[in-house]
């Protein structure tokens, strides 16, 4: 694989469609993400935001169109799917930590099983990541013993342990109490500054404004509008965008 130039797209989606039975959930999504970009996706509930980012690591299958991640096309080929999953990490709204494993085991599981690393190496990197997300002292605890904010930071560390190129976040702070949102957003901001390519579904507009390179507004399975945070906030073109922004910025 050739070294990616910073201007090369690392994710290319062309005319992506997805149906759930009769329901047309994604109606022709086009998106190119360059290496190191931070993309924020927002829009009303049920607009297909989750569905879209979940097609990128094949948690959902798209039925037509093309998705290419780091020059690997997503097809029915299991090898491609596995290769893409090694390059992308995902952070879920509900954290989805493994409750039967300690924090350290949660983080080292995939490096040990997928990358077949030595235990010492995996644990060393896991501890570095726990330092980075600010909770090294929790390594031996179980997820059930942590607060929501701590759990979500472990989930981020767990994804990062795979040494990946792309991070997908699906409403990472929506299940958190207000005082914990900041600790997770701080970790995400630091991650963005370190040059990670990020796709973030979120309604945290402060985060979007300060960190996002581009924002995409989704409605009814389509991209209604996209642009820099400046453009979207100060000069939205579409009525639907204006309406939605006025609703979420009110409170």
């Amino acid at each position: 694989m050739s070294e990616n130039n910073n201007n090369d797209p690392i994710i290319v989606c062309q005319d992506v469609h997805k149906w759930y039975g009769q329901f047309h959930a994604l109606r022709g999504i086009d998106m190119e993400v360059r290496k190191g970009e931070v993309i924020v996706i927002f829009g009303p509930s049920g607009s297909g935001k989750s569905t879209f980012i979940r097609t990128i690591n094949r948690l959902e299958e798209h039925q037509s169109g093309q998705i290419v991640v780091d020059s690997i096309e997503l097809t029915h080929d299991v090898r491609n799917i596995e290769a893409i999953r090694k390059e992308t990490g995902m952070v879920f709204q509900q954290f989805n930590l493994f409750p039967h494993l300690t924090v350290l085991q949660n983080i080292t599981l995939a490096p040990l099983q997928v990358h077949k690393w030595k235990k010492e190496k995996a644990e060393e990197i896991a501890m570095q990541l726990l330092e980075r997300v600010g909770i090294p002292e929790q390594a031996e605890k179980f997820p059930g013993q942590l607060s929501g904010g701590q759990q979500q930071r472990v989930a981020i560390a767990r994804a990062l342990a795979m040494q990946l190129k792309i991070m997908l976040f699906d409403e990472p702070t929506s299940a958190l109490d207000p005082e914990m949102i900041k600790e997770v957003l701080d970790v995400m901001t630091e991650l963005a500054e370190s040059g990670m390519t990020m796709l973030v579904v979120t309604h945290e507009m402060g985060f979007a404004r300060s960190v996002a390179d581009r924002m995409f507004f989704f409605d009814e399975g389509q991209i209604v509008e996209s642009g820099s945070p400046e453009d979207i906030y100060n000069n939205p073109q579409e009525d639907r965008t204006k309406l939605f922004l006025s609703q979420i910025l009110q409170h």
Binding site: L59, F92, F98, P99, T108, Q113, V114
Partner: protein, 394 residues
């Protein structure tokens, strides 16, 4: 802070101190149990005394005087009652262990089938579960016995499966091994196999601890044992068992091993009934692992097998083990319904013994003691396992 804490505690009157109250509660409960137990015991002794009897287990060392149709060890009617009890216990334990193993296997299949995306498979297994859960076990046992096993053809017209398994109204005869001169040597080989597989198990667990990647420990342990068993069988100059094929001679089969219709009816009834509950437990266990767990695992790059083995299975087991334990205990206790179809289990033989000796209190106490201790042993074992796999919560 620390100081005010202690001074405050020192001033609590004891009747408001929760620590004192907790201990006190236990002591009062214990006293109540002892008083009640003594009252019952006293009552019983007085009642027995009125009939001119004192409780005694001396009857265990008297001749039994009755036959037992099915047994795993040698027994004659001239043997002591205690020998008869042993025969009975072994029968109960044997049918329970075989029943537990078979109902677990069948139940796991049913549970998984009910979750199947194949409509027919899912529907059939859910019908099975619904029907079986709603029929009393006693009815089921009598159905198997009178409706199926003893209405089978007579010995002369026995149904044959293959060339040497025969099913008739006298039960099922299968080929059986007869020990040859090398059998004792082979037992030693099997002992070596157990030791070797224990070593393999131990070493692989160490490897798992060291690398963080647990190998398939159970699988390799079993493979080691089987390998030793097979190599030993081939290497011995004469094979340790010769096959004893059943043949029809006169009115009955000679040779092989016969399972009686009573045993078969009891086993089938217990297995089919318990498997329905096990199936439900397995299904609930699998469903208890949220979809998010599987998605998180797959998103991390673990494949379907790794996800099943490392994420789904360990979590499902936590939900499955406690109710499964009570199903195992139920099966063991339910085996006492054998009395209805004439299989000589503990309950049936205790009944006979009671009739013969008139020692009702002692026989019932003995029987309860035995059921209780088998149940307790099972519970202790399963609780130990359950503790090992329990989740830590906040």
């Amino acid at each position: 802070m620390e100081k005010t804490h202690t001074t405050q505690q020192a001033t609590i009157p004891f009747w408001r101190d929760e620590r004192v109250l907790r201990v006190l509660g236990q002591i009062i409960f214990l006293i109540a149990v002892i008083v009640f137990g003594y009252y019952i015991y006293n009552n019983m002794i007085t009642a027995l005394a009125k009939q001119g009897m004192t409780p005694s287990f001396a009857f265990l060392n008297q001749t039994a005087g009755f036959d037992i149709g099915e047994r795993l060890i040698e027994y004659e009617r001239a043997d002591f009652n205690k020998r008869a009890v042993l025969v009975a216990v072994l029968n109960t334990v044997q049918v329970s262990i075989v029943g537990i193993i078979l109902s677990t296997i069948l139940g796991v299949f049913l549970g998984i089938a009910r979750l199947s995306t194949n409509f027919l498979v899912a529907k059939l297994s859910s019908i099975y579960l619904e029907i079986l859960r709603n029929i009393p076990l006693l009815v089921l046992l009598i159905f198997w016995y009178t409706g199926i096993f003893i209405t089978l053809p007579r010995v002369k017209e026995a149904i044959s499966l293959g060339t040497s398994i025969f099913i008739s109204n006298r039960g099922m005869v299968i080929p059986w091994g007869i020990p040859t001169e090398t059998w004792r040597a082979y037992l030693i080989v099997l002992g070596v196999g157990i030791v070797l597989s224990a070593i393999v198990n131990w070493q692989l667990n160490l490897v798992g601890k060291r690398t963080g990647r647990p190998p398939l420990v159970t699988l390799w342990t079993i493979i080691t044992f089987l390998a030793v068993a097979i190599i030993g069988w081939i290497a011995l100059p004469q094979s340790p068992l010769t096959l004893d094929l059943p043949t029809l001679q006169g009115l009955n089969f000679k040779g092989g091993y016969t399972f009686s219709p009573e045993y078969l009816a009891l086993l089938s009834g217990l297995v089919i009934y318990t498997a329905a509950f096990v199936g439900e437990i397995v299904r609930a266990g699998i469903l208890s692992v949220s979809k998010g767990q599987i998605e998180a695992s797959r998103a991390l790059g673990l494949n379907a097998f790794q996800t099943l083995r490392l994420i789904v299975f360990p979590q499902a087991m936590r939900v499955i083990v406690p109710p499964l334990t009570s199903q195992y205990l139920n099966l063991t206790k339910n085996s006492s319904l054998a009395v209805a179809i004439g299989y000589p289990d503990l309950f049936a033989i205790a009944g006979t013994m009671h009739n013969q000796t008139g020692r009702s209190v002692e026989v019932i106490a003995l029987m309860m003691g035995i059921y209780l201790s088998t149940s307790l042993i099972t519970s202790v074992f399963m609780n130990f396992y359950n503790k090992k796999i329990k989740l830590v919560e906040r």
